[in-house]
Symmetry: C2
Subunit: 306 residues, 2 copies
Amino acid sequence: MGKFEVNILGCGSALPTARHYPSTQILNIRDNLFMIDCGEGAQIQFRRMRLKFTRLGHIFLSHLHGDHCFGLIGMISTFALVGRTGELVIHAHPQAEQVFRPQLDFFCRDLPFTVRFEPVLPNRTEVIYEDKSIRVRSLPMIHRVPCSGFLFEEKVGMRHLLGDMMNFYNVPVYRRAAIKAGEDFVTSDGRIIPNSYLTTPADPPLRYAYCSDTAYNEALLPIIEGVDLLYHEATFGDDAEALAKETCHSTARQAAIIARKAGVKQLLLGHFSARYENEQQLLEQAREEFAPSFLAREELKIILGR
Amino acid sequence: MGKFEVNILGCGSALPTARHYPSTQILNIRDNLFMIDCGEGAQIQFRRMRLKFTRLGHIFLSHLHGDHCFGLIGMISTFALVGRTGELVIHAHPQAEQVFRPQLDFFCRDLPFTVRFEPVLPNRTEVIYEDKSIRVRSLPMIHRVPCSGFLFEEKVGMRHLLGDMMNFYNVPVYRRAAIKAGEDFVTSDGRIIPNSYLTTPADPPLRYAYCSDTAYNEALLPIIEGVDLLYHEATFGDDAEALAKETCHSTARQAAIIARKAGVKQLLLGHFSARYENEQQLLEQAREEFAPSFLAREELKIILGR
């Protein structure tokens, strides 16, 4: 199956620091780019990571706090200058259009592409995007303003043909697509060869969940169960558990408890508060709950694999 | 007299690059900070240059193109988070308030300080700000949208007392402020000692002119004559003179001709197009016209002196 990469453009929180840009990620799924959140400076990091502007068709905004969307207008302006032409779809809370449309109308007149807003309703999980190879679902977050996380899932792919069996049964090339899709093969003398003799199962679909910003929320568990990679906000450490609760954020430990209970494969921590000089203590606290935890950092590229 | 520093936070143009942030400067005049333009990432550079958020009271926006103002909303949001409390005044084209007020209302509810917009009318020069030590005038720019440059001038200071003469004539301390302001001294026996015997002249006031974005404009010459430092946009080189004209920008050579004809002391070039890998050729072309030209760069701090 194809490429599935998570690129971290920024993993700080509300206060940008010398170390962290605010929240921005780009998924590269078979060379189509999907952006999640778009903090100030996103376009600079986009360029720095050598990703292709023309490959981006969809942006998913978790919520309308500035550290998740102030980079949008600058990035769209730049797209206009570099001659990007494909439609750009922004999946966000229904209020997003009334917030950003006036800015687009003022600063980005005569865009060489259309910008379309697709409403994402908070407090639920539903399919908000689908193409031939992936499906994106919204995830319910608990935050001070309406907020949605996102689950990116590959669709089940084709079964793999066994070359030896193709030869053995003399399967003509024009029949192979159907067999990859699961059909049996009928030989010229009428024998039925079950598909399971001819193929091995399709690769299990890769799944990536983005959960930010949110307080600890066990309602997520059944939806994100077993994902290959969970990005969960870990704004604070144990030292600021009360503050996390008050501001509807999570501690690194809480993120790790969610990861463990959901049986995910790996946990990526991010959305770090500016109060930490480095995030080592957050990592240690998370690993006490869930060993395969690691820290996001700017310009990190994670390749999901099977 | 006091400190007069020009800090370059960004000197690129519309397309941010890995080398340049968009236009942003901060003047530090006697520890009061004045921002000129506010491109995306301004707050990051602000922090990186270790300038104090609380010292900024006034922002001057030349025009409402994104590369000169997209950093505003993020910076103001951050000011709120770090507990800045003083009023913030934004001097800008009258349209600025209708553009930014809705964003402030949406993203920055309950700011712990007021944001006030002061209209700057384009196509003229007039005093737009004044305090006890400086005066700011608008400058007419020629650009595709209404645009103003800015001239920052120190006010004439106090004359310097000659210590020997103070002793010789036994000038009491309570009379000295008046003498610094230019008054003569009357001795106890009625003799009038002219001020010129008692003092040396005040320091000449420092003057800084910011001219961006603009096409070549000789109307500026009498207003910026003899300034200590002229920042003039130099978006293009000789290779793109036609493009400069078409887009209402200047070449480095044109900037230098303005500098020479205005008899300024030094020329600082900036607002560089992303088309140049480095700006050495722009510098060389400028120096052919005006030797004391130099290139702006991020994190450059220039101390104006006498």
